[in-house]
Amino acid sequence: MTKSTRIAGARRLLLRLLAVLAVFAVVAAACGNDDDDTTADAPATQAPTAAATEAPAPTEAPVAEAPVSDRCGDPARLGNSINFLNWADYIDVGILEMFEEECGVSVTMDTHTANEEAVAKVDAGNSGYSLVIVTDYAVEIMSSQGLLQALDMGEIPNVANIDPNQMDPYYDPGNVYSLPYQYSTTGFAFDATAFDAPPTSYSAIFDENPLCGQSSLLEDQREVLGAALVYLGYDWNETSQAAHDEALEVVLDARDCVTGFDSANYIGNLAGGEVLAAQSWGFAAGIAYLTNPNIRYIIPDEGGTIWQDNFVIPADAPDPYTAHVLINYMLEPDIGALITEYTIGYTPNLLVPPLLSDDYHEVVSGAGLELTDEIRDRLVWQVRGEEHSIFADTWSQIIAAG
């Protein structure tokens, strides 16, 4: 009896182990399969986005002919692999496969969903990442903490392709540590069918809000409070207590009428009609437009923000040379076009616009994403210094409210 109990116990255990192994087998088989497929036409077939499914393949998807092209730097110094930390869902992964195909460097990309996460990881030391993409203010913070190494522009000849307007930014004068990857703006997206006349001011959310219960604000202390501040006539980066007290009132009033402070779901919500107006990132309005062509994007009269994501190389990067080569590769016009088709952001690369597909241009003009000089004049950069901690204090009270 004892023995049989034990055997039963052992059998039970074995069954469970088998179950687990079988799950493994299924996954492993699936993993194995994809090695057989060639990845030459990768970007066109695999880009997992609305952009890629609904827009045809980019104009010049280059197929690697030679194992090592002249876009791969010095083969003797080039590493075999590189770790890359990027914003989530911010590149067509086919590009990384093309780089591997062309230059023989396998790229392991991990993603972050906030600059603070990336800063924390690099700050911890020996993160293992040789290339990181972070937004403007994070570059300033990281370089001031000594977390970045100066870029060697001699290894990045394609720097000549970059729009001078996007160079020499406030957060990195002279581009010592960073080069622009993509940039975009923060403004206001709405469903044109819901408005008789398109809104032009933040009052559409902060004051009369005709779409109570069908509009949302971003979940971002700087963007929401900044919008409230400019709506009240202050500067977007204002740090005085009095101004923040007023802004807090405005946001708390609006809170009852917005469906939420939402940076994650609102793109789908806009596309699906769940919300009809939302404070929005520019590229996000473009993505929503792909599903719902009634989506329009504006920078309100009071102003909006411009932001730029950048390549940086951590001070303790294992393979800075390969990182330089990868940066240069992504600044190639054809690759830059693939990136921008995917992100629906703005490219800092002057050679890219002619290569962009009609579909991209259709999205940009259809959704009202053109960045004219008149609009540029209304945009400000968000600055983050010690004194801007007041934004978090104000925002804490909004969190405390509900």
Binding site: T2, K3, A114, E116, E117, V119, A120, D123, A138, I141, M142, S144, Q145, L147, G213, Q214, S216, E219, D220, Q221, R222, R255, V258, T259, G260, F261, D262, A264, N265, N269, G272, G273, E274, R384, G385, E386, S389, F391, A392, D393, W395, S396, Q397, I399, A400, G402
Partner: protein
């Protein structure tokens, strides 16, 4: 593996204490060491951090300061808070105690028990209500604490309500195969990503989603469900329910049905059998499940983020702000340290002393 016939050492007359003293270290050390490395040391680090200076970009500057605590205590105080708030809290507590004592005393009478326990329960509840009101109205930080604790407590109660019938249902199946099938059916959904399922819940309950469409078809008004307290509490229940079901089932499985039969045969009414025979027997499972549901809920991040939409926030959202965008790790550490105390106190206040020693 120990062989079937391995008697040898005879440990003498049954005293569990003597051999126990000798062998506790090998049993205890590995697990304790592991948890200490991963939690105690970092936990102490958190306490230390709360007295340091924030560094732009995250982390700390090693300069001692009380700024974070000052921020919580002084700057966190609401402008509207004052003696009126205290008075209101006391009134509310008294009202709650009075309201609860009536049914509690009635229940005690019905079950043939002394009413002193019921009165004590009512008093405790009243005190909790008063403290909660004070926390919610007095200080911006403790307001988030109070909300997190109350919602988690509600989620725990709902979980108990849902898990009890299920545990009884499963444990009263005869075939072990059926039991296992039913238990496995509880767990399987939880092996697919929580995020994906929460997303599905969002879809179901959206203003333009199937449930609201159904309401409209039936000629009713659409209900705003997402980004409300209701959605968040439902999400808490959804994520934590299996953590109540499993221990409760394990306890219900051991319930002696003969005893319940006997009680019934002796003329006990079903509620009496439930309260006097069944509940005491499943108490260990109830407490373990309750503790797990509560603590898992109270520090939930994804549920308030995905279903609360930034409008209904819990403690983790506040911490996320400080450790993330705000770059104020010391303040985050201070909030976390304080919140750990709040969680502990809530647990100790609810789980009686005798039960703590026994089950916790």
């Amino acid at each position: 593996m120990a062989e079937h016939t391995a008697p040898s050492t005879s440990p003498g007359p049954s005293s569990t204490r003597a051999p126990a003293r000798r062998r506790v270290a090998p049993l205890l050390a590995p697990g304790l060491l592991w948890i200490s490395v991963a939690y105690v040391v970092p936990g102490l680090l958190v306490v230390v951090y709360s007295f340091l200076t924030p560094k732009l970009g995250g982390g700390v500057v090693w300069e001692a300061t009380l700024d974070s605590w000052d921020q919580i205590v002084a700057k966190g105080r609401r402008s509207t808070a004052g003696w009126g708030t205290v008075g209101a809290a006391v009134l509310r507590g008294a009202a709650a105690a009075a309201a609860v004592s009536v049914p509690a005393v009635a229940a005690a009478r019905y079950l043939g028990r002394r009413i002193s326990a019921s009165l004590a329960l009512a008093a405790l509840l009243g005190a909790l209500v008063a403290v909660n009101h004070l926390a919610a109205e007095y200080n911006n930080y403790t307001a988030v604490f109070a909300r997190s604790v109350v919602w988690s407590a509600l989620a725990t109660i709902i979980c108990i309500g849902l898990a009890l019938p299920l545990a009884v249902f499963i444990s009263s199946r005869r075939s072990p195969v059926t039991k296992n099938a039913l238990l496995i059916a509880v767990m399987i959904p939880f092996w697919t990503s929580m995020l994906v399922r929460t997303y599905a819940i969002r879809f179901l309950f959206a203003n333009t989603g199937p449930l609201n469409n159904l309401l409209e078809t039936l000629g009713l008004d659409r209900i705003v469900f997402l980004n409300t307290r209701f959605a968040v509490i439902l999400g808490l229940v959804y994520t934590a329910l299996p953590f109540m079901i499993l221990p409760l089932y394990a306890a219900a499985e051991r319930v002696d049905r003969a005893q319940m039969e006997a009680a019934r045969d002796l003329g006990a009414r079903p509620p009496q059998v439930f309260a006097d025979v069944f509940l005491p027997m499943v108490k260990p499972g109830l407490i373990v499940g309750g503790v797990m549901v509560f603590v898992l809920s109270v520090s939930q991040y994804l549920v308030p983020t995905l279903l609360g939409g930034g409008k209904t926030n819990m403690i983790a959202n506040l911490l996320e702000l400080q450790f993330g965008e705000a770059f104020n790790w010391p303040l985050g550490a201070a909030i976390a340290a304080l919140f750990s105390v709040v969680t502990l106190v809530s647990l100790y206040a609810t789980v009686g002393r005798r039960d703590q020693e026994q089950f916790l």
